[in-house]
């Protein structure tokens, strides 16, 4: 290829790499057509994309009905539903999808808490904002209490809104976020308990974890709504939503406990000894040394559990709560919008995906940020 030039030994200059290994051509050569098998799979993949993507895009976008306030635009010549997405359905039902049957006049309460949450998160994300620690403490402790009083009402001059009226994405978020925030600390305690030297504590934690992991969430929810009231004395009646919240939280803390335990097992004994030799007691050793490292190691597992929990909230439908997916189904059984369930599901899938993908991205960001080089 290039002519060989002589260089003085010890003074060889840095040369450009061969042209075939860099740039777009180099990338294609390396990644798409490096071997016959690789080339075959590249062609196969292109063919599959050709088969799948155009019809999906056509259904979702190009043939879909976009504009309109009622179902007329979504009907074909014979009066049946069109063979594509009917977005006016989502527009018409948007408010119930988001908030369920929460009274219109009281929606500002939910929106206000959303805004506070949004601003809080912004303050945490933008590096220049001061008092990050206090913002985080606010979001974790007073904020949920404020939310409870705002949503339920009945005090501070707010009209009471019964939980059967709660619904849609709002209800999904209430269940998911409560479950996420509560299951992590409970899971950590269970994991520590399971590794404890005290036999009773250990046995109780193992029994708890294995019990909850051994039953399906759907049966937990059924039990909480059907059987639990039977054990309660006459007149004592817990709210159905609260029972579902407790069920979901305990269920996911059992999973969380095992994820955290995995992290704890990966921490070398030397870290414990290093901390003990400095005089740190058990609590401080766990808080400053062991837990930060263990939790960092299992961020993917923790977020995996969170994502699972977020999607599992759809199961509360079986006990008659109208979460986001439940509202979508309710909307498509409305007599005006029969036949547009697929559109509703496509919308639901998109919304769930955005939330789950967001969590996944955040976890990867966190992993990069906490990486300290080894």
């Amino acid at each position: 290829m290039a002519e060989q030039t002589q260089h003085i030994v010890g003074e060889h200059p840095d040369l450009q790499p061969p042209a075939s290994t860099v740039g777009a051509y180099g990338w294609i050569r390396e990644n798409l057509i490096s071997t016959p098998i690789n080339t075959f799979f590249t062609i196969l993949a292109i063919y599959l994309i050709y088969l799948l993507v155009p019809p999906v895009l056509d259904w979702l976008i190009f043939s879909a009905a976009w504009v309109g306030t009622d179902n007329t635009v979504c009907k074909n010549e014979t009066g049946g539903p069109i063979a594509a997405a009917c977005w006016p359905f989502v527009v018409a039902w948007f408010k119930p999808f988001m908030f369920g049957f929460y009274p219109d006049s009281e929606l500002w309460r939910i929106k206000l808490t959303y805004w506070i949450f949004g601003l809080g998160v912004l303050a945490l994300v933008i590096p220049a904002v001061p008092f990050k620690k206090w913002v985080a403490v606010f979001l974790l402790i007073p904020y949920p209490v404020i939310c409870y009083y705002m949503y339920a009402g009945g005090s501070f001059g707010l009209v009471a809104v019964e939980t059967p009226l709660w619904g849609g994405l709002f209800l999904t978020l209430v269940i998911a976020i409560t479950g996420i925030v509560a299951s992590l600390p409970i899971g950590i305690l269970l994991a520590l308990g399971r590794r404890s030297n005290m036999p009773v504590v250990k046995a109780v934690c193992i029994a708890f974890i294995e019990l909850w992991r051994g039953v399906p969430l759907i049966s937990v929810l059924f039990m909480s709504s059907v059987m639990f009231p039977l054990f309660m004395p006459e007149g004592v009646n817990f709210d159905k939503l609260i029972r579902a919240l407790v069920g979901v939280t305990l269920f996911s803390s059992a999973y969380m406990a095992e994820v955290v335990r995995g992290g704890l097992q990966a921490i070398p004994k030397g870290q414990y000894e290093g901390a003990q030799a400095l005089g740190l007691n058990f609590g401080k050793m766990m808080f400053f040394i062991v837990m930060p490292q263990a939790l960092k190691l299992v961020i993917p597992g923790i977020v995996n559990t969170f994502i699972g929990l977020f999607k599992d909230t759809t199961l509360v439908g079986v006990i008659g709560l109208f979460d986001f997916l439940g509202m979508v189904q309710a909307g498509s059984s409305n007599k005006d919008w029969l036949g547009y369930l697929t559109t509703g599901f496509a919308f639901a899938a998109l919304v769930y995906w955005v939330f789950c993908f967001g969590m996944s991205q955040y976890s990867q960001h966190l992993e990069r940020k906490l990486h300290t080089g080894h």
Binding site: Q276, A277, L278, G279, L280, P292, T372
Partner: protein, 266 residues
């Protein structure tokens, strides 16, 4: 193990005379320890005075690490008595923490906290065990980092430092708690040969300042330079105990002779 030995001539020569006080700081009486049914430490008796520098050597598995780890209760002994700074070790967690505050320890694998910066590694225990305010703890930390000659690394993380630097940070981390006694558990065994000297030099300087030290090490050059007593252990027992010159030149027990011939012959 002997090929990494740094000879006494290469090490920093002590400039001050190292004296030993009369105050008893560690007293071990008839101590036994078992791992399950394995009798790992047998009738250990040891008295350490303030300012003493003791080197513990012996073949691997002889129980020397286990012995010094009993002193700050990283290992539990089952029989006998250990008194550190006037406090007898028992199952009382408060007393254990009290002793650990006064006894610093450096490990073979450093055991720095990888998720914390060097500075955070150093100020953590002073702040949360001794309740020293951050500014003051950082000032002390900086002083000790300068003493181990790596103040410029304060903002880095342990993973970014060489083994020798990490061990020096570990020494500084212990010193930040102003311990009365320092335990060293094979501090140079995991280091590349060229880094051993920098760690030993720091330890020698520490000895010069009068620190009471018990070192488990194979560095015989170090033992000759700073130790005022060398203890040889084998099979869980203290076989021989002598001041370094007599120990190296005129070992009494045949197991000591065999060990020394193996470790010094190269």
């Amino acid at each position: 193990m002997s090929d990494s030995n740094v000879s006494a001539d290469d090490l920093h020569a002590p400039t001050k005379e190292m004296t030993v006080g009369d105050d008893l700081v560690i007293e071990i009486n008839g101590m036994h320890k078992w791992y399950g049914s394995f009798h790992v430490l047998k009738d250990i008796n040891l008295k350490v005075n303030l300012g003493e520098r003791i080197v513990v050597c012996g073949p691997s598995g002889s129980g020397k690490s286990t012995m010094i780890r009993c002193i700050n209760r990283l290992e539990e002994h089952q029989q006998g008595q250990i008194v550190v700074g006037g406090i007898e070790l028992s199952n009382d967690l408060k007393k254990i923490d009290e002793i650990r505050r006064e006894v610093g320890m450096c490990f073979q694998h450093f055991n720095l906290f990888p998720h914390l910066s060097i500075m955070e590694n150093l100020v953590l225990a002073p702040m949360w065990v001794r309740n020293i305010p951050r500014a003051q703890a950082e000032e002390t930390a900086m002083k000790y980092l300068e003493r181990v000659k790596i103040p410029e690394q304060a903002a880095k993380f342990p993973g970014q430092l060489s083994g020798g630097q990490q061990q020096r940070v570990a020494i500084a981390r212990s010193l930040c708690m102003s311990p009365k006694i320092m335990l060293f558990d094979e501090p140079t065994s995991a280091l590349d040969p060229e880094m051993i000297k920098e760690v030993l030099d720091v330890m020698i300087e520490l000895a010069e300042e009068g620190m009471t030290m018990i070192c488990v090490t194979h560095e015989m050059g170090f033992a000759k330079t700073v130790a005022n007593r060398v203890i040889f252990m084998d099979g869980g027992e203290i076989i021989e105990e002598n001041e370094p010159n007599s120990f190296f030149d005129n070992p009494q027990h045949e197991r000591t002779q065999l060990f020394l011939s193996q470790i010094l012959a190269h």
